[in-house]
């Protein structure tokens, strides 16, 4: 999404909530699923009204059909930890019509298949393996930061956030380093809505996805005939639960790992710079004490909430906080709202890098589908901020960020900054 011309979108759809007053409309008409308010950074008051007035909200009519919005931290926790009531199948995205394009992956599977496939690959992002990787990540982060212009405007998203996460991803897949930009492209394509800058048509989207499959099939064939290695492709090719998976399932899991390991951390790297600029007192705390960085990382991940929601589908009729949910209903857990819920998080609408219990946020989800890469994400963010702090007194935001047209991936396509070195 990095290169998209966000100025042209959204095409003003009848579903768009952009520039509407959330308190001046009937509550039943509030629809968080339309990407416009996310791109225009107008989603907070809509979420606030639902959280306060109708925290388990039924949107009867939207571009993606009817769905429930779960707004409170505790209700989200209930849904996320009740896979017997709320299934991750057939998809965790809000859009059913994408199902025909959807690829099978363990994020959208229930136990026991989910558990077996996940277990096969999680070792690569487990802390013991990460310890080995930290030195490499640190040196790569250093090279990137040392190559940046000083006292001159540039795009932080393109030159730092994307570059760092893409390099990391190439490392995890043992992907040919010179081709690493393909990973960024495939990641963007996988979550792109045709017509919004990345791909124009579904045919184009499929062409890119097929290219991705062909590339990773080649890697699979290389690795399956070699000794088992520590990279993700080798783990899938040799793992008991995954070595016989059909090609589309292999591709689904690859794309899951690309998107999961790319967009999310990328946007938290950018979101942290923005949040510190918007909260100068917090930036001052960071300058005064670098020891706050691990705690700050958790707070940045809460504040950014790089995936705004996860969707479940009710398996049977059930009740949640007094609302009757029917079997087959779409249930959307808005992590972005739960992370701002004052009832569960003290001063939830303030960005506080030294907040107590910073780790208790919803951004990674909870339960069986809790983010597998959470420790990798935290490590990458910690290392980048430690390296930034060694070099720069101030990463100054000098213009408006450009946000992504999506109600799922909550992120940025551009953030103009100027670097001020340590005095």
């Amino acid at each position: 999404m990095s290169e998209m011309a966000t100025g042209d979108v959204p095409k003003k759809s009848k579903w768009s909530m952009v520039d509407k007053d959330p308190y001046a409309m009937s509550i039943k008409d509030i629809d968080l699923s339309h990407p416009g308010i996310w791109q225009h950074n107008q989603y907070l008051p809509f979420m606030e009204r639902l959280r306060n007035e109708d925290p388990v909200h039924y949107c009867e009519d939207s571009a993606v059909g009817p769905y429930w919005s779960i707004m409170k931290y505790k209700d989200i926790m209930t849904v996320d930890t009740s896979p017997h009531l709320y299934s991750s199948e057939p998809t965790i995205g809000i859009i059913d019509s994408f199902e025909e394009f959807a690829l099978p992956a363990f994020i959208s599977m229930d136990p026991p298949k989910h558990d077996d496939q996940r277990r096969t690959v999680q070792g690569v992002v487990a802390p013991a393996n990460l310890k080995e990787l930290e030195g490499l990540i640190r040196s790569r982060a250093g090279v990137i930061l040392d190559s940046l212009p000083i006292n001159e405007e540039f795009d932080w998203v393109k030159h730092v956030s994307i570059e760092l996460t893409t390099q990391m991803l190439a490392t995890l897949f043992d992907f040919p380093f010179e081709d690493r930009n393909k990973l960024t492209y495939w990641s963007d394509v996988a979550t792109a809505i045709p017509g919004n800058g990345i791909v124009e048509t579904n045919e184009q989207r499929w062409a890119a996805i097929e290219e991705c499959l062909a590339y990773f099939t080649r890697l699979w064939n290389e690795r399956v005939n070699a000794e088992p290695g520590n990279d993700l492709v080798s783990m899938l090719a040799h793992g008991e639960a995954t070595k016989n998976m059909p090609p589309m399932e292999y591709l689904g899991n690859i794309i899951l790992l690309i998107v999961g390991g790319n967009d999310t951390t990328r946007n938290s790297i950018t979101g942290g710079v923005l949040a510190l600029n918007e909260n100068p007192a917090e930036y001052a705390k960071l300058r005064a004490d670098k020891g706050v960085i691990p705690n700050m990382v958790s707070e940045i991940i809460r504040w950014q909430t790089p995936l705004a929601y996860m969707r479940r589908t009710a398996i049977q009729d059930t009740e949640l906080s007094g609302k009757k949910i029917k079997a087959g209903d779409k249930v959307v857990m808005w992590y972005a709202s739960g992370n701002r819920d004052e009832e569960s998080i003290d001063r939830a609408n303030e960005f506080l890098i030294d907040r107590p219990n910073a780790r208790q946020h919803l951004s990674f989800g909870f339960g069986l589908h809790r983010c597998m890469g959470n420790r990798l994400a935290e490590m990458q963010l910690r290392v980048i901020w430690e390296e930034i702090s060694k070099r720069f007194d101030f990463v100054e935001v000098v213009g408006e960020p450009e946000r992504i047209y999506s109600s799922f991936v909550k992120g940025y396509s551009k953030l103009p900054v100027v670097l001020h070195p340590l005095k």
Partner: protein, 106 residues
């Protein structure tokens, strides 16, 4: 009050005295024992309060419940004596309990 000994991965020991009725996770967190993250706050849904219960205490600390089993299944360093400490409520019987913490919570 009961006594609990937490042993870190590197052998560092932490003796704490805690109220019965508290969970083993709360005992660790409220006494500043490192190595227990407890990201979900004690609702058996993140597996970041993983501990290994000393052999001789396995009977007294009870069975792994199904939700706990599912969450422990996500851990890469699951062992026979693995438990999630938020699922162990301390009783008088557990006075002197010894548990160790893994090198990493995941």
């Amino acid at each position: 009050m009961v006594k609990v000994l937490f042993v870190e991965h590197d052998g560092t020991e932490h003796n704490v005295e805690v109220n019965t009725g508290d969970s083993l996770m709360q005992a660790a967190v409220s006494n500043g024992v490192p190595g227990i993250d407890a990201d979900c706050g004690g609702s058996c849904s993140c597996a970041t309060c993983h501990v290994y219960v000393s052999e001789e205490w396995l009977d007294k600390t009870g069975e792994v419940n199904p939700t706990e089993e599912a969450m422990l299944g996500l851990s890469t360093d699951r062992k026979e004596n693995s438990r999630l400490s938020c699922q162990i409520n301390l009783t008088e019987e557990m006075d002197g309990l010894v548990v160790s913490t893994p090198e990493f919570q995941f």
